[in-house]
Symmetry: C2
Subunit: 356 residues, 2 copies
């Protein structure tokens, strides 16, 4: 059990109206911080008023990016209660990311307690309009104030909360996706399976190029053969081909998404066949051209399910399911969000209520 | 010409004795800062007292690692003057890195002026003992205070200075290198050719493992075939095989080192044959086993030349040149450091004196 000191703000803010929230730019009254040194281990767990972090300009995080994060949400139920969705999976993945980057691990129960305590204190910031949620961002980074490259001796674990608008405020509009053929996001043996900053920095340029050409996201290929589908934007991706849902296998360069895993488990519980395997862009193009590609969608915490209406491969466009959301994507979205917002019973044991 | 406002410290510090400097942990009295917004561009160039940076906990740099840096040195000449070594190459590479990460570019002359002005103000911090220098760290990172992933709208360019001890304070001791076979540092199409934080974060774990086994650095293989030599630790690497210096070609996953380039140009000016090409670990092992591997050394700003005394491939050790520095490495070190510290004439035009 982690002992957390709590200092409440003397200037509480107010939750903006749901249509002004957007994503990740409004923050709640408080944040969680905890310090690490290799001599003392983790110490000084505290909840304090949300405010700037003050760091040496030599801090590792500015130069060598020893930084990992997680993303999950607190959902407001109709009865006014607030709940999380499989948060222990995020805490496990946080440590898997930290291990890869040489950052100190955090006992998973401590990290979860930090999240739950902070959400409980700032519970009034969890919005209640349909599709809105309180986005939770735990992050862990090295603060060693030296430019030398010898491991991590100091670190900070922080949690901030951001009330966020509905991802589908303007309706459930399928996205247009462009195959990325120049830039590579991640490679086996690298950091692709972690939520480390470097993966996102590496994706930035291609995302910008795709958007400039009128697409919403890029479709990433593997870095070795430049042949196998990996992810879409910052989401996992699934394709329904001839009645079977196919999703790229976790080869080490792909994020082991919690929404991905929940979709696979849910689909299988319905008797839908799911294959986790290598899927080449050639196979996908052929399926799209021959009409056996029935659905395509991204999966992730932010969107839950993001239907793909168009795939563009080297200038050639393929419409998927007439550009509208398909039945599998729709059912996954309905049942997952039903669980997350508490509108449906939870036969899987995925929901985690916040007390108090 | 950049207009730089200057606020001098009222509490100047003092340069510690040379044997207490180490690397990258002592900083001078001042730092350079400049802000960017996509509406205003670069603005508010200023030199201020060295001190902590205060940033929103949501700042991009803590989460998505949109961050790049450079490393160069100011050298104290025997006549008391201070000079830089090919600094315009660093400013070019800074922009090449920024371009890959979707960060705003900086006019190279402005970045160089920032460095020169700051060094000029903190010139008394450039140590004079043999092998010591004033390490210069320009860095550029995104400060967008939002968790959304839509490009970079705010950034900071900073320069800090760190008086640093001699890399070879304990003598010119060749290092022991271990081949890394699990982790990959970078892949073609990725960010390997940039000085971005993510590359260093990705290397952290393997460095730690190698050191725990008594090695000094790891030898990185390419991420595609896991067959070709790329870099050693955070340095470029060169091998003298049968009279020819062989160094990995710049395939996109290798840092285009300025010391690397200077070595190649210097070697060719002496009539030594240099090949920039793919070099497989098999070829290297064979050369080591058959005795045609005459020398091996890393090249980089910190060490200049770092002779390799032992290569370890999957538990098999190969001693290089009886574990002592070879004549090519020694001559490169002598002539490069001779230029850098101003002890020798500069036929290449590489040196850049600091005025004032």
């Amino acid at each position: 059990m982690l002992w957390i000191s709590i200092t409440k703000t003397t200037h509480p803010g107010q939750l903006p109206p749901a249509d002004k929230l957007g994503f990740g730019s409004v923050f709640t009254d408080h944040m969680f911080l905890m310090d690490y040194t290799d001599k003392t281990g983790w110490h000084d767990a505290r909840i304090v008023p949300f405010g700037p972090l003050s760091l040496s300009p030599a801090a590792n995080v500015f130069h060598y990016a020893a930084e990992v994060f997680e993303g999950l949400k607190a959902y407001r139920r109709a009865d006014g209660g607030v709940q999380l969705f499989r948060p222990w999976e995020n805490m496990k993945r946080l440590n898997a990311s930290a291990q890869r980057m040489g950052l100190p691990l955090i006992p998973e129960s401590d990290a979860l307690q930090a999240v739950k305590t902070l959400v409980s204190i700032d519970k009034s910031w969890a919005p209640s309009a349909p599709g809105t949620s309180l986005y939770i961002r735990p992050f862990l980074f090295s603060t060693d104030p030296t430019l030398s490259l010898h491991g991590v001796h100091k670190a900070v674990f922080a949690v901030i909360l951001s009330p966020s608008g509905s991802y589908y405020a303007n309706g459930f509009k399928p996205v247009r996706i462009m195959l990325e053929i120049d830039d590579v996001r991640a490679v086996r043996g690298g950091t692709g399976y972690t939520k480390c900053g470097g993966n996102y920095a590496a994706s930035n340029r291609a995302d910008g190029r795709a958007m400039a050409q009128g697409f919403d996201q890029v479709l990433w290929l593997d870095g070795v053969e430049r042949r196998y589908i990996e992810e879409v934007g910052a989401m996992n991706v699934m394709f329904k081909i001839n009645g079977t849902v196919v999703t790229p296998a976790l080869t080490g360069s792909i994020l082991p998404g919690i929404t991905r895993r929940s979709c696979i488990e849910m689909l299988r519980s319905w008797g839908v066949s799911v294959e986790e395997r290598l899927l080449s862009v050639q196979e996908l193009v052929q399926a799209a051209a021959s009409g056996t590609l029935e659905e395509a969608f991204g999966t992730g915490t932010a969107a839950v399910i993001s239907p793909i209406g168009e795939l563009n491969f080297k200038g050639e466009g393929y419409t998927v399911n007439q550009g509208v959301i398909g039945p599998t994507a729709q059912r996954l979205y309905d049942e997952l969000t039903g669980l997350q917002w508490g509108a449906r019973p939870d036969p899987f044991g995925w929901v985690c209520p916040i007390e108090g």
